[in-house]
C-alpha cells in the first residue's frame, strides 16, 4: 500500500494546480458582456453614439419588422407607398399579394395593417427614447444644449410623421366631427423603457383627433425651430431639415383644413425647386433640387424582394405586382403628350407600370416622402380654397407645365369657370403627379366628407382578372370623365367600417383600454 502514498502526494499537487486553474476560470465563463450590441447605459455615452442612436430611429422608420423577421419596408421604407396606393383606385393590384388591402378585406389579424401599426409605434417609441436619451446626455455633459435640441427636433419630426400615418389609416379624418373630438390614435410622447413607464403608458387610450393634431403641430413647430436648415451630401434628403418639418406641416394643415396654415408652412420653404424634368427626383434620388425628405434605401439595406418599390412596381426583372390601373391610365384628361406618360410609364406584356422605381437588382430606390411639388400643390389648393385663384393657378402651373410642355395644352385663367373647377384640376394634378407614390389614400381619406370633392368612400376598382393588355389605352372606356370599364371590386362608402383599418388583434389582446376603443364594425 505504500505506493499509494507516494502517488497521492504527487497527485494532490497535481490536483491542487488543477483546482487553482479552475478557480480563475469561473469569471471567464460567467461574466460575459454582449459584444454585438451596446448596452442601454452606454448608448448615450459619447456624441458619436448619440448620433448612431439617432440614425437608429430612421432605421426603424425604414425597415421595421414584418411578420416576425422579414423586412418589407414597413412603415416608410416602401410599405406606406404600397398600402397608400392599394387603398386607392389609381393603381391596380396584379397578384394576390395586395388583395386584402386592395379589396378592403382586412381583419384584425391581416398582416399589412397589423405591421403598419407595429412598426409605426416602434418608430415612435424609438424617437421618444432619443428625446429622453439626449436630455440625459446634456446633463452628463456629453452633448451641448443646442445639439440636443437638434436631435430632439429630428426625433419629433419622425414622431409626427409616424402619428400622421397612423391617423390616416386608423382614425376618421379631421372634419369627421366639427371640433375633431372623435377618436384619433394614442399619441405617445413617453419613452417606454422601464416597467413603471410601461404601466403608466398602457392605460392611456386614444387621443381625440383634435388632440393628435395639436400634438403633431407642436412637434412640427419644435422641429421647424430647431432642425438645421440644410445638410450636406445624401443627408440633405435622408435626414430631417427645417424644410422637411415645414413640408410635413403643410401636409398636416391640409388634412386639418387650415388653409392659412398650409400657405404659411409652404412659404417658409426656400432653397428648393422643381427638377427640370418630371423624372428628375427618380433618376437622381439624392442629388436633386426637389426632394425635401426621402427614406434612404441602399443595396445593403432595403425592403427586399418582397417589399422594395422597384420590385413591387417595376416591370421585369421587377415583380410587377402593382400596375397603373386603366382607371388612371386611360383617363383623357391626363393628356397624351404629358411627359409623365412618356417618361414615367413602362409597358409590359400584361399592362402598364410605373417607371419611378427602376433599380431592381440593387433595390436602392429612395422612397420619396416629401417633395417640393407636393408643397406647391398643397399651397395651390389652400390658395384656391381661400379664393386666391390666381396664386393657385400659378402654383398649379409650376408643377403641371413641367410635364405639359405644349403651350396650347397649358392652363390659363380662362381655363376654369370657377374656383371649384380649378380645385378639381389641382386635385387631379395630385393624382397624376404622385401616382405610385402612395398619396392617393391620404387624399381619399381627407376628402372623405368634402362636399364637393369626396370620392364616396373607397372607390370601386378594376380587378386585374378582368383585364387584358387591351384594357389599357388612352381614352379607352371613358365617357363623360367616367371610367366605363368593369369595376368589380366594389366601393366602400365613407360610412362603411372598412374605411378605417382595425386596431390589431394583438393590441386588443394586450391593451384593455384600446380593447374598448376598437373602430366600430370589427
Amino acid at each position: 500500500m505504500k505506493t499509494f502514498n507516494i502517488q497521492n502526494r504527487i497527485l494532490s499537487i497535481f490536483f491542487l494546480t488543477f483546482f487553482l486553474t479552475f478557480m480563475s476560470c469561473e469569471k471567464e465563463v460567467t461574466e460575459l458582456e454582449p459584444v454585438d450590441r451596446i448596452t442601454e447605459a452606454l448608448a448615450f455615452s459619447t456624441p458619436a453614439r448619440v448620433e448612431l442612436s439617432m440614425v437608429g430611429v430612421y432605421d426603424a422608420a425604414q425597415s421595421g419588422f414584418y411578420a416576425g423577421g422579414a423586412v418589407r419596408g414597413y412603415p416608410f421604407g416602401a410599405a406606406n407607398v404600397q398600402q397608400g396606393d392599394m387603398r386607392g383606385e389609381d393603381m391596380l393590384n396584379v397578384a394576390a399579394f395586395y388583395a386584402i388591402t386592395y379589396e378592403a378585406n382586412y381583419n384584425t389579424a391581416s398582416a399589412n395593417n397589423v405591421f403598419m401599426w407595429h412598426t409605426l409605434y416602434n418608430t415612435i417609441n424609438k424617437a421618444n427614447i432619443i428625446i429622453e436619451g439626449v436630455a440625459s446626455a446634456v446633463s452628463s455633459g456629453v452633448l451641448t444644449e443646442a445639439k440636443a435640441k437638434e436631435y430632439e427636433a429630428e426625433a419629433r419630426f419622425l414622431r409626427a410623421l409616424s402619428h400622421h400615418e397612423l391617423l390616416i389609416h386608423f382614425a376618421r379624418p379631421y372634419k369627421h366631427t366639427a371640433d375633431g373630438s372623435h377618436l384619433g390614435v394614442p399619441y405617445r410622447t413617453v419613452a417606454v423603457n422601464t416597467a413603471a413607464k410601461l404601466e403608466a403608458e398602457v392605460v392611456k387610450g386614444r387621443n381625440t383627433v383634435a388632440e393628435c393634431y395639436n400634438l403633431l403641430l407642436e412637434d412640427l413647430n419644435f422641429a421647424e425651430a430647431n432642425l438645421p436648415a440644410t445638410r450636406t451630401g445624401v443627408l440633405k434628403v435622408t435626414r430631417a431639415t427645417t424644410a422637411a418639418a415645414s413640408a410635413l406641416k403643410s401636409r398636416v394643415m391640409l388634412h386639418k383644413g387650415d388653409w392659412a396654415g398650409v400657405i404659411a408652412a409652404g412659404d417658409k420653404i426656400t432653397g428648393y425647386s422643381l427638377t427640370a424634368s418630371p423624372d428628375g427626383i427618380f433618376t437622381n434620388n439624392s442629388g436633386n433640387t426637389e426632394s425635401i425628405f426621402s427614406i434612404e434605401n441602399s443595396a445593403n439595406d432595403n425592403p427586399g424582394v418582397n417589399g422594395s418599390l422597384p420590385n413591387m412596381y417595376g416591370v421585369a426583372p421587377g415583380r410587377a405586382l402593382i400596375a397603373i390601373s386603366p382607371i388612371m391610365f386611360n383617363i383623357p384628361s391626363w393628356l397624351q403628350n404629358d411627359l409623365r406618360r412618356t417618361l414615367l410609364i413602362s409597358e409590359a406584356g400584361n399592362g402598364f407600370f410605373t417607371k419611378k422605381y427602376t433599380r431592381v437588382a440593387t433595390q436602392e430606390d429612395f422612397n420619396p416622402i416629401l417633395r417640393y411639388a407636393e408643397v406647391l400643390l398643397n399651397s395651390a389648393e389652400a390658395h384656391a380654397r381661400n379664393g386666391n385663384t390666381a396664386k393657385a393657378l400659378e402654383l398649379l402651373n409650376l408643377v403641371r407645365n413641367r410635364a405639359v410642355t405644349n403651350a396650347a395644352d397649358q392652363f390659363g385663367a380662362a381655363s376654369f369657370a370657377n374656383a371649384k373647377d380649378l380645385l378639381n384640376a389641382i386635385l387631379f394634378e395630385r393624382r397624376i403627379e404622385f401616382l405610385a407614390e402612395g398619396r392617393r389614400w391620404a387624399d381619399i381619406h381627407r376628402l372623405g366628407l368634402d362636399p364637393d370633392f369626396n370620392t364616396g368612400g373607397i372607390p370601386s376598382k378594376v380587378a386585374f382578372g378582368n383585364t387584358t393588355k387591351a384594357s389599357w389605352g388612352f381614352g379607352l372606356n371613358y365617357a363623360n370623365g367616367q371610367y366605363t370599364g368593369s369595376r368589380t371590386i366594389i366601393s366602400r362608402p365613407y360610412e362603411d367600417f372598412r374605411f378605417l383599418w382595425p386596431i390589431p388583434q394583438d393590441e386588443l389582446n394586450t391593451n384593455e383600454v384600446l380593447r374598448g376603443q376598437q373602430n366600430p364594425g370589427y
Binding site: 461574466e31 440614425v55 425597415s63 384584425t108 389579424a109 423603457n193
Partner: protein, 1045 residues
C-alpha cells in the same frame, strides 16, 4: 471548493494504516476468459483493506490477520464472496449480472441498474443502428416511456423534436440536454439556408447505449440544464481480446408516404373559371392541346418528388491489447431525399482509445469527426418559391418544360418571373416561379464539420476513491451556401445571387470528478461524487452575399470580380456556465436506497445579482422483495421495488443576454446606426422546476415479466416569459422577458417487458410502453392570455392550446360560410350563441336566420376577441410504442408499432389547398357549394376569386381546419437471418446476419393532412400544432447485412 480539498485530505490520510501479514494473489476473469481490469477485491472482515486488478486482471493483496473472506466485485457483474481457506492464489470467474443488473450510465458516472433510484430509460444502440434514417433521433421515437419524438418533416436534414415528459417552458427552450460521453453536445438545427441536424453527425453504429434521464433524481445532477430531461449517449469501447471487425451495410429506397391530392387539368379549369365567374370576371383557364391532339396535364408532385436511394456503410475495428483498448470506426451514408433537391451525405470517423498508464492511472481519448453535407429545397411555408407552397399551386394544365424559353423550362415569356401560362389567359397567382426550375437550379447547402471529443485522466487514488478530469470539445463548423439562379425564381430580381456563411460554434467543457465508493460491514454501500464543471460556448458567423452576377457559369462559389453588389454580415455571441455539485448515494443491502444531490450553477445569461442558482435533488427506493417476509413470494414476484424522488431543476436555454437592455445595430440605407433592441430586466432569474416522481419496478417469475410504472409531476415556476406588450408601446419585438408564468405537467409512464414465448427454438419477446402527459398553465403575467395566430396560452388550459372560431358549415341557400358568434357576460362566459353568415359578395357578416337563410339584414361581425374559444390541446396527451421480437433458429423478426394521440392539429395547408386565387387546388375543393340544388359537401363555400381571407379565414384557426391528430404507425418491420456459425467457419467469419426491413409502412389516422406528425411551427414564441405546407414523410424499404470476424 474547500470541501473538495477537505475530502481529499481526509481520504489521503486514511490510507496506509493496515498491518500486513500474509499476501494473496490471483486473476479475475469473465466467463469467456477475458480479464477484468479494475475489479475490486476487498477483505470482508476489514473492508478498508482492498485493491483492484491490474491490466492483466491480476491482483495482489496483503491480508490482515482477521481476513477470512474476499469479496470480488466488478461493475455489471455479480459480486462473489470467497473463503480464503489458507490459499495463496485464488482465481475467480465473475459472471455477468442478471437482467436487472445492467449498468446504466448516469450523470457523471455509472450505476448498476438495480441500484438506480431515478427514472431512466435505456435504449441499446444495436436496437436502432441498422435502421436507415438521417439520424438516430428519428429511431428513438416510441422506444421509451415518457419520451416523445416527433419527426416533423421528410426533409433529411431537419431535426426531430424531442420532448421528455411534455413541454416545460413557454418562451424558453423545450429540448433536452444531450450529453455524449460526458460532454454536453450541440443539438438542434445548425443549418442556415437548409436544415442540418446537429445530432445527425453521430454515426448510430458507434453508439453503445442511450440513457434517457427523466425525473428529478436522475436529472438534478445536471441542475440548470435539466428541465427538459437529459439524454446520455455512450459510444462504444474496445474489449480486451482479439480484434474484431464489423461491417454493416444497408441499401434502401425511400418514397413519400403520402402526397397532396391535387386537381388534374380538367377539374382545374372548371374550378378556376368558376372562381372568376362568381366574382364577375372573365374566365382565364383553358386546357392546352398539343399538336398531336393530346391535352397537357402535368403532375408536378411527380416531378419534384422521387423515390430516393439511400445507403449506409459502417466499418469498425475494436479490441484490446495489453493495457489498451480501442474502438475505431468509419461510417458513410449517402441518402437521397424524396424531394429532388434534398440529399444528405455523411462521413464519420471515430476513435475511442483507453489505456492504463500504470496500476492507478487510466487515460482515454475519444474523438469523432464528421462531415455532413446537406442539400435541400427552400421549405418556407409562405415563400413563393417554397417547395410545398409552390408545388401545390403549379398549374396542372401547363407543361413543366418549354423549348421556346432559353432555359428549356416553361417560364412565362411575358412575365419572366412566373411559371408559363400555357393556354391560360393569365399567369399563376402572384407570378410564382416554375417550382421544378427552382428546385433543380437554385441550390441550398449546409456542409459542416463536427469535432466531438474528449480526453480524460482517471486516477484510482485508493480502492474506493477515484478522480477523473475530463476536457471535452464540441465544435460545429458550418458552411452554408445558397445559389439563386439569375434566369428565374428568387434570384431573378437580383440578377443572380450567392450567399455563403461560415458559422463556427465551439463549446468547451471541463469536468473534475471525484468519486468515492465504499461498502462496509458488507451491508452499507456508500457512494459520493463531487464535481466541478465549467463550460463556455462561442458562436459566431460571417456571411457574404453577392448579387448581380456576371454569368450563371459562376455558381459554385463566390468568385472575385464576378458580381456587382457585395454585401456582408456577421455576429458573435457567447455564454458560459460554472458549476459545483455533489451527490451522495447510500443503500443498505440493496434494500433501502437513499440518494441526494446539490448543484450550484452560475450562468452568464442572467444579471450579475441573479446568476447563481441552487438545484437540490433527493430520491429513495425500497426493494421490498429483499425483505425476509417476501421469501415465500419470490418464486412469483422476483423483484419489487418502490421509488420516489423530488428535485429542483432549471432552464439555461433562455438566450444569451435576455436581461440586458440594449441597443443593437440598425443600418439606415448607407448610414450606420444603433437602436433600442431589447427591453432590459435586471430582475430576471432562473426558471425553477420542481419535479416529483413516484413509481415501482416489478419483476415476475424470475424477471420473465417486468413492469415499471411511474407517476410524475413537473411544476415549472418563475418561467421566463416573453410577456407580450401592447404593440402601441413600441417595445422592441413587443415583448419583455419576465419571470412570470407557471405551468404544471403530470403524467403516467408504464413499461412492460415480457418473454411471451420461449419454447425450444421459438422465442417471442415483447415490450410495451405507454405514457400520458397532461399540462396546465397555472399563472401568467396579470392573468393575461397570450394569443398568437392559432394558439392561446391561458390560465387553466393546456399550453398553447388551439384557439379559434366554431365553424358551422355552408349556408345551403347561398354558399356563404356560417360561424358561431357569442354574447358573453362580464366574466366572459357565453350567454348566447348567434350564428352569422359571411356574405362573400360584399365580405360582410350578417346574422343568420334559419327561417330565411338568404336574409342579409342585420350586420354582426365575426369578432376575434369575442367569438374565439379553445379548440383543443396542441400537444399529444398519450403516446407509446409496442415492440415485438420473434426468433426462430437463425431467423429474427421485429415488428414495431407506435402511437400518439389526444392532440389537435391546425391544418393550415388545407386552407391553402382551397385557395381562391388562380392556382391549383386540393381535390377537396370539388365539394364546393355551386347552387341550392348542388350544395356540395356542406363545408366548402361558394368560390370567389381572391377571397381567401374571407372565405377561408386562414388567419384564424377554426373548427373547419382543426383536426384530430391521433395516429397509429407501423414504424418498423424487419426480418433477418443469422447464418449459423458452423457454416461461417469456411469463410473465416464469426457472424453474418442479412435482413430486409420496411420503415414507416402504414399509418392509421383520421387526420386529412399529409401526416399527423408533419408540423411546420413549433418555436416557443410562435405556436404548436400547425401544419402549414409541410413536407411529406418518407417510407424506406431496405436490405442489409452485418458481418463480423
Amino acid at each position: 471548493m474547500k470541501q473538495v480539498l477537505f475530502v481529499l485530505l481526509v481520504l489521503f490520510g486514511s490510507i496506509g494504516m493496515t498491518i500486513g501479514q500474509k499476501t494473496i494473489s490471483g486473476k479475475i476473469t469473465d466467463p469467456s476468459g477475458e480479464t477484468l481490469i479494475g475489479a475490486n477485491v476487498i477483505v470482508k472482515e476489514n473492508p478498508t483493506v482492498g485493491t483492484i486488478t491490474d491490466v492483466d486482471g491480476m491482483y495482489q493483496l496483503t491480508l490482515p490477520v482477521e481476513a477470512k473472506t474476499l469479496i470480488m466485485s466488478y461493475t455489471g457483474y455479480e459480486s462473489q464472496e470467497i473463503a480464503i481457506d489458507g490459499r495463496a492464489i485464488i482465481d475467480v470467474v465473475l459472471s455477468q449480472g442478471k437482467l436487472l443488473d445492467e449498468v446504466v450510465v448516469v450523470g457523471y458516472g455509472a450505476q448498476s441498474k438495480k441500484d438506480v433510484t431515478g427514472s431512466i430509460s435505456k435504449v441499446k444502440g444495436d436496437a436502432v443502428a441498422t435502421l436507415v434514417s438521417p439520424s438516430f433521433v428519428q429511431q428513438l421515437a416510441g422506444r421509451s416511456a415518457g419520451v416523445q419524438i416527433q419527426n416533423t418533416s421528410g426533409i433529411l436534414g431537419s431535426a426531430p423534436r424531442i420532448n421528455i415528459r411534455g413541454i416545460n417552458s413557454i418562451s424558453s427552450g423545450t429540448q433536452p440536454l444531450v450529453v455524449i460521453d460526458g460532454v454536453p453536445a450541440i443539438t438542434g438545427d445548425i443549418g442556415g439556408f437548409t436544415p442540418a441536424n446537429a445530432l445527425g453527425d453521430i454515426n448510430p453504429n458507434d453508439i453503445e447505449s442511450y440513457e434517457i434521464l427523466k425525473d428529478g433524481a436522475a436529472t438534478a445532477i445536471f441542475g440548470s440544464r435539466a428541465a427538459n430531461g437529459v439524454i446520455l449517449i455512450t459510444t462504444k469501447k474496445g474489449v480486451k481480446g482479439k480484434a474484431s471487425f464489423t461491417y454493416d451495410a444497408n441499401y434502401g429506397s425511400a418514397s413519400a408516404l403520402r402526397l397532396y391530392d391535387l386537381l388534374g387539368a380538367e377539374d382545374f379549369v372548371t374550378i378556376q373559371n368558376e372562381k372568376y365567374k362568381n366574382a364577375g370576371a372573365n374566365p382565364v383557364a383553358n386546357l392546352q392541346t398539343r399538336p398531336d391532339g393530346s391535352i397537357v396535364e402535368t403532375d408536378w408532385q411527380d416531378l419534384v418528388f422521387r423515390s430516393g436511394t439511400q445507403q449506409n456503410h459502417s466499418l469498425s475495428v475494436s479490441g484490446g491489447v495489453d493495457r489498451t483498448n480501442y474502438f475505431v470506426s468509419f461510417g458513410y451514408s449517402d441518402l437521397e431525399g424524396i424531394s429532388v433537391a434534398n440529399s444528405l451525405r455523411r462521413y464519420s470517423f471515430r476513435s475511442n482509445l483507453e489505456t492504463k498508464v500504470n496500476s492507478w492511472l487510466t487515460a482515454g481519448f475519444n474523438s469523432g469527426v464528421t462531415r455532413q453535407e446537406n442539400f435541400g429545397p427552400l421549405t418556407g411555408s409562405n415563400n413563393l418559391s417554397g417547395n410545398i407552397f409552390g408545388t401545390i399551386r403549379m398549374l396542372p394544365n401547363v407543361d413543366a418544360f418549354n423549348t421556346a424559353h432559353p432555359t428549356g423550362y416553361n417560364i412565362d415569356l411575358i412575365n419572366p418571373r412566373s411559371l408559363g401560362r400555357g393556354a391560360n389567359n393569365d399567369v399563376v397567382a402572384n407570378g410564382i416561379p416554375n417550382q421544378l426550375f427552382v428546385q433543380l437550379n437554385d441550390r441550398r447547402a449546409s456542409k459542416s464539420w463536427r469535432l466531438l471529443g474528449n480526453a480524460f485522466l482517471q486516477a484510482q487514488l485508493s480502492k474506493d476513491l477515484s478522480f477523473r478530469s475530463q476536457i471535452g470539445i464540441d465544435g460545429t463548423y458550418v458552411d452554408d451556401f445558397i445559389y439563386q439562379d439569375a434566369r428565374h425564381g428568387d434570384g431573378f430580381g437580383a440578377n443572380g445571387s450567392i450567399s455563403q456563411a461560415f458559422s463556427p460554434t465551439t463549446r468547451w467543457n471541463w469536468q473534475n470528478i471525484l468519486t468515492y465508493n465504499t461498502s462496509f460491514n458488507n451491508s452499507h454501500n456508500l457512494g459520493v461524487t463531487l464535481v466541478q464543471e465549467y463550460q463556455k460556448q462561442t458562436a459566431s458567423f460571417y456571411q457574404s452575399t453577392v448579387q448581380n452576377i456576371s454569368d450563371v457559369y459562376f455558381q459554385e462559389n463566390i468568385i472575385t470580380g464576378t458580381f456587382a453588389t457585395p454585401l456582408a454580415s456577421g455576429d458573435f455571441e457567447q455564454n458560459g456556465l460554472a458549476s459545483y455539485l455533489g451527490r451522495v448515494n447510500y443503500n443498505y443491502k440493496g434494500k433501502y436506497y437513499l440518494s441526494a444531490s446539490m448543484r450550484r450553477d452560475e450562468l452568464s445569461a442572467l444579471a450579475p445579482d441573479n446568476r447563481v442558482g441552487y438545484f437540490p435533488g433527493a430520491s429513495f427506493a425500497y426493494r421490498i422483495s429483499e425483505e425476509s417476509f417476501w421469501d415465500g413470494l419470490r418464486d412469483v414476484v422476483s423483484d419489487f421495488r418502490l421509488r420516489g424522488s423530488a428535485a429542483q431543476t432549471g432552464n439555461t436555454n433562455i438566450g444569451n443576454y435576455p436581461y440586458v437592455g440594449s441597443f443593437g445595430s440598425a443600418l439606415y440605407g448607407s448610414q450606420n446606426g444603433i437602436s433600442y433592441s431589447n427591453f432590459g430586466n435586471d430582475l430576471l432569474k432562473w426558471e425553477a422546476q420542481t419535479k416529483l416522481d413516484f413509481g415501482f419496478d416489478l419483476g415476475l417469475y424470475n424477471n420473465k415479466y417486468t413492469l415499471s410504472a411511474a407517476y410524475w409531476i413537473q411544476d415549472n415556476d418563475d418561467i421566463i416569459l416573453q410577456a407580450p406588450t401592447a404593440p402601441s408601446l413600441g417595445i422592441p419585438n413587443n415583448f419583455i422577458n419576465q419571470n412570470i408564468g407557471r405551468v404544471k405537467g403530470q403524467g403516467i409512464e408504464l413499461t412492460l417487458d415480457a418473454v411471451i414465448l420461449d419454447k425450444g427454438d421459438f422465442k417471442w419477446n415483447s415490450s410495451v410502453n405507454f405514457s400520458t402527459q397532461g399540462n396546465e398553465v397555472l399563472k401568467l403575467v396579470a392573468g393575461q392570455d397570450i394569443i398568437t395566430n392559432y394558439n392561446i396560452i391561458r390560465e387553466g388550459e393546456s399550453i398553447r392550446a388551439l384557439y379559434g372560431f366554431e365553424y358551422v358549415g355552408v349556408n345551403a341557400a347561398n354558399g356563404n360560410p356560417i360561424y358561431e358568434t357569442y354574447n358573453r357576460d362580464a366574466s366572459g362566459n357565453i350567454t348566447e350563441t348567434i350564428l352569422v353568415q359571411g356574405n362573400i359578395q360584399n365580405q360582410t357578416y350578417y346574422v343568420y336566420n334559419p327561417a330565411n337563410p338568404t336574409e342579409l339584414s342585420t350586420v354582426r361581425a365575426l369578432n376575434a376577441t369575442r367569438d374565439r374559444k379553445v379548440l383543443g390541446s396542441a400537444i399529444p396527451t398519450y403516446f407509446g410504442g409496442f415492440d415485438n421480437n420473434f426468433s426462430y433458429k437463425g431467423f429474427d423478426l421485429n415488428v414495431f408499432v407506435r402511437f400518439s394521440g389526444g392532440n389537435k392539429i391546425m391544418n393550415r395547408t388545407r386552407a391553402d389547398l382551397l385557395s381562391q386565387s388562380f392556382n391549383n387546388n386540393g381535390s377537396e375543393i370539388l365539394g364546393r357549394w355551386q347552387s341550392p340544388e348542388n350544395p356540395g359537401d356542406g363545408q366548402t363555400p361558394r368560390l370567389f376569386l381572391n377571397r381567401d381571407a374571407f372565405t377561408n379565414n386562414p388567419d384564424f384557426a377554426s373548427t373547419r381546419w382543426v383536426e384530430d391528430g391521433s395516429f397509429v404507425r407501423l414504424q418498423n418491420v424487419s426480418l433477418g437471418y443469422t447464418i449459423p456459425a458452423s457454416k461461417l467457419k469456411i469463410l473465416n467469419l464469426s457472424g453474418l446476419r442479412v435482413y430486409v426491413q420496411g420503415q414507416n409502412l402504414i399509418t392509421w389516422t383520421k387526420y386529412t393532412g399529409i401526416d399527423p406528425e408533419t408540423s411546420t411551427n413549433f418555436s416557443t414564441s410562435a405556436g404548436f400544432g400547425e401544419d402549414f405546407n409541410g413536407n411529406p414523410q418518407q417510407r424506406v424499404i431496405s436490405g442489409g447485412l452485418r458481418l463480423s470476424f
